[in-house]
């Protein structure tokens, strides 16, 4: 018998619990290694003043407990129901599946490219190129003409650049 949509929703939640729990634990562990490995005055005794190490240690412990809680909750559900968290086809193509990541990842890559290019060609030119590229990606997704989208993207960049540079006097370099 194939799983019902309600089952799939619950399984997706379990997968989210497992992933978020594992990530929280890794983050807490990694940051704890950095924190306790730090030399200098971080772990000195400051007398009545609790010192700068107190707050991070409380927070790292809390994050670890929350991560372990989510991991245990997800694992407990898998053990009780005797199921895998989510079926592979749903994980890949279902609503919110991994296949939908293509465009957002491409845009994140463009944003990183903009940040690197900004130093070399200046804010204005890099922003115009980024804006044109993003507009073209979205126009392609909608099945519309690319040259017009590129011009629209450049126009948006020019208007907003002028607003911040000339009206608000932000030194965009």
């Amino acid at each position: 018998m194939s799983p019902t949509p309600a089952d799939e929703t619950q399984r997706r939640e379990v997968l989210r619990d497992l992933a978020t729990g594992a990530l929280s634990l890794v983050l807490a562990g990694g940051l704890a290694a950095v924190h306790f490995g730090q030399a200098g005055r971080l772990h000195d005794d400051y007398g009545r003043e609790p010192g700068p190490a107190l707050m991070p240690e409380i927070l790292l412990a809390a994050l670890g407990v929350a991560g372990a809680g989510m991991l245990l909750r997800g694992a407990f559900f898998c053990w009780r129901e005797r199921v895998s968290p989510v079926s592979w086809p749903v994980f890949w193509t279902g609503a919110g599946g991994l296949r939908a990541l293509g465009t957002p990842l491409a845009v994140v890559a463009l944003l990183v490219g903009f940040l690197i290019a900004r130093g070399a060609v200046g804010f204005g030119l890099a922003a115009a190129c980024l804006s044109a590229a993003v507009a073209m990606i979205l126009a392609r997704q909608e099945g519309r003409g690319l040259p017009r989208a590129a011009l629209e993207g450049i126009a948006i960049a020019v208007v907003l650049y002028a607003l911040f540079r000339l009206v608000l006097s932000v030194p965009l370099t």
């Binding site: 924190h35 730090q38 200098g40 845009v107 994140v108 944003l111 804006s131 932000v170």
Partner: protein
């Protein structure tokens, strides 16, 4: 009272004064609606214009900018899911959800009406019982400050859509981001990884721009919707009178919460909107509808946010204490003109105090008129833009807004990085709001926690002082309650089977 009546009549009948306040309101509305341009920045930009003005004229201009920019933070929160200020971070939950359902016009109208209502209630309390509230707010010591921040964070974790445990993890990560940088007491670096850019820590605005704006834009890019628009058409503008009246109690509660928390120095609008939103969710018969786009989720935090304006002026006017960076700029304006706010000003220049009260009232009325008759219609047009233009514009605004906070390229990296992380968190079903609140409130919590332990020696002080005890207990109930209830329900179900 006669001073106030004279000041109001004088300001209303003086076209120059009225014009200055109107100019301030328009500037505040435009700047406040831009992501990354905070109320403090708007005031700072206008500050040089006041050098040649009389003090009343300067206050007319600055209070116009102040009130209008606080309200306008809700515009980008509702339309673009980008809260321009910490006070607008809760408005995104239901405001943007309403916009997605084609009710952006209504959401903006609710925000405006609630803002004006909150502003007027805050003003009335400022005029009527400012010294009483200020005296009570001064009873807050470091244990109470720490407890109220913890309380705010607990309420945000509870009130955000999604799972409380995931909300707790997100809030903890936010608090960890808040401790990054050099410790203010010992100057010891924490989690800076040897980089110069992290020595000063993270600024909340680029982080919020990334977490809400960039992440939301990335989510909207996953698939092209039918019709080529991100959100449905904006629908009717004015809500029905019957539904407006139904929201009145929420607006009133939010206004009182905003005024009181706004009067506590450093607590700020972030805590006020979190408390107001969580209270409404708690009182509601259908709490599961919060976060899906209901007017009450906009009305309560917006009323609280704008009531904070009057609240923040209470310690400034009565004691000369700036409650936040905005009132610090206002005190700067007064000092520039040779006036020192505080009890002495009340005794020696009551007519000037009345002028400030009159200026704030006129700013509230003008914000209502300008935003109501022009602003709503203009802002609404944003959603009618084709999807590719809107999303491209949002991304560009995010980059420019992040840079303009400190003119720092590092802040753009922060916005892009937090955008990618926020997008990942959305996909994992982790609420983003507690993370952003953690960054805002982390430094305040740490400062007051350490001061408490240094002065009182141990943690038991939180249980021996009535205000902190009450706040800590409610926070623990809010955080632990759902987990305990769920565990008990599961146990009962297993026993039955």
């Amino acid at each position: 009272m006669s001073y106030l009546a004279d000041a109001l009549i004088g300001a209303v009948t003086d076209p120059a004064m009225l014009g200055l306040c109107l100019f301030g309101v328009v500037v505040g509305l435009v700047f406040g609606a831009l992501p990354g341009v905070s109320s403090t920045m708007s005031l700072a930009v206008m500050l040089p214009l006041t050098f040649g003005m009389s003090t009343p004229a300067a206050m007319m201009l600055m209070l116009g900018v102040f009130f209008a920019s606080v309200y306008a933070g809700s515009v980008s929160a509702i339309l673009l899911n980008i809260p321009g200020t910490p006070g607008a971070m809760v408005t995104v939950l239901d405001g943007n959800a309403m916009a997605r359902k084609g009710r952006a016009g209504e959401a903006m109208a609710y925000a405006l009406i609630a803002s004006l209502f909150g502003g007027v209630v805050g003003w009335l309390l400022l005029v009527g019982i400012a010294p009483v509230i200020a005296a009570y707010a001064l009873r807050f010591g470091s244990p109470e400050y720490a407890a109220v921040v913890f309380f705010g964070l607990a309420l945000v974790s509870y009130a955000s859509s999604g799972d409380t445990l995931r909300g707790l993890a997100a809030g903890t990560i936010g608090l960890l981001l808040g401790v990054v940088g050099r410790d203010v007491v010992t100057d010891v670096p924490r989690f800076t990884f040897g980089t110069a850019d992290l020595q000063g820590g993270f600024d909340i605005i680029p982080l919020a721009i990334g977490l809400f704006g960039v992440a939301e834009a990335l989510s909207a890019m996953e698939r092209a919707p039918r019709g080529g628009r991100v959100q449905a058409p904006t629908g009717r503008l004015m809500p029905k009178a019957r539904t407006l009246i139904a929201e009145l109690p929420a607006a009133l509660r939010g206004s009182f919460i905003g005024t009181f928390i706004g009067a506590i120095p450093a607590a700020g609008s972030a805590v006020a909107v979190a408390v107001a939103y969580a209270l409404e969710k708690r009182l509601s018969r259908t709490p599961e509808r919060f976060g899906t786009g209901i007017p009450r989720g906009v009305v309560a935090p917006e009323a609280a946010n704008n009531a904070c304006v009057g609240g923040a002026l209470i310690p400034m006017m009565t004691l000369g204490i700036p409650g936040d960076s905005i009132t610090a700029v206002l005190i700067g304006v007064l000092l520039l003109h040779g006036l020192r706010p505080g009890p002495g000003l009340f005794e020696n220049q009551p007519e000037f105090i009345a002028t400030i009260y009159a200026a704030l009232f006129i700013a509230i009325v003008l914000t209502g008129l300008v935003a109501g008759f022009i602003g709503l219609r203009v802002f609404n047009k944003v959603l009618l833009l084709p999807r590719r233009l809107l999303l491209t514009g949002v991304l560009m605004l995010c980059l420019l807004g992040a840079f303009s906070v400190r003119n720092s390229a590092f802040d753009i990296w922060v916005a892009v990085g937090s955008g990618a992380v926020g997008y990942g968190l959305i996909r994992l079903g982790v609420p983003i709001l507690p993370l952003a609140f953690g960054v805002v409130l982390g430094p305040i919590l740490e400062e007051n926690l350490r001061r408490t332990l240094m002065i009182h020696g141990d943690w038991s002080v939180f249980l021996t002082r009535p205000i902190s005890f009450t706040l800590v207990m409610i926070s623990l109930l809010v955080l632990g309650g759902p987990l305990i209830v769920r565990a008990l329900t599961t146990l009962a179900a297993r026993r039955r089977t």
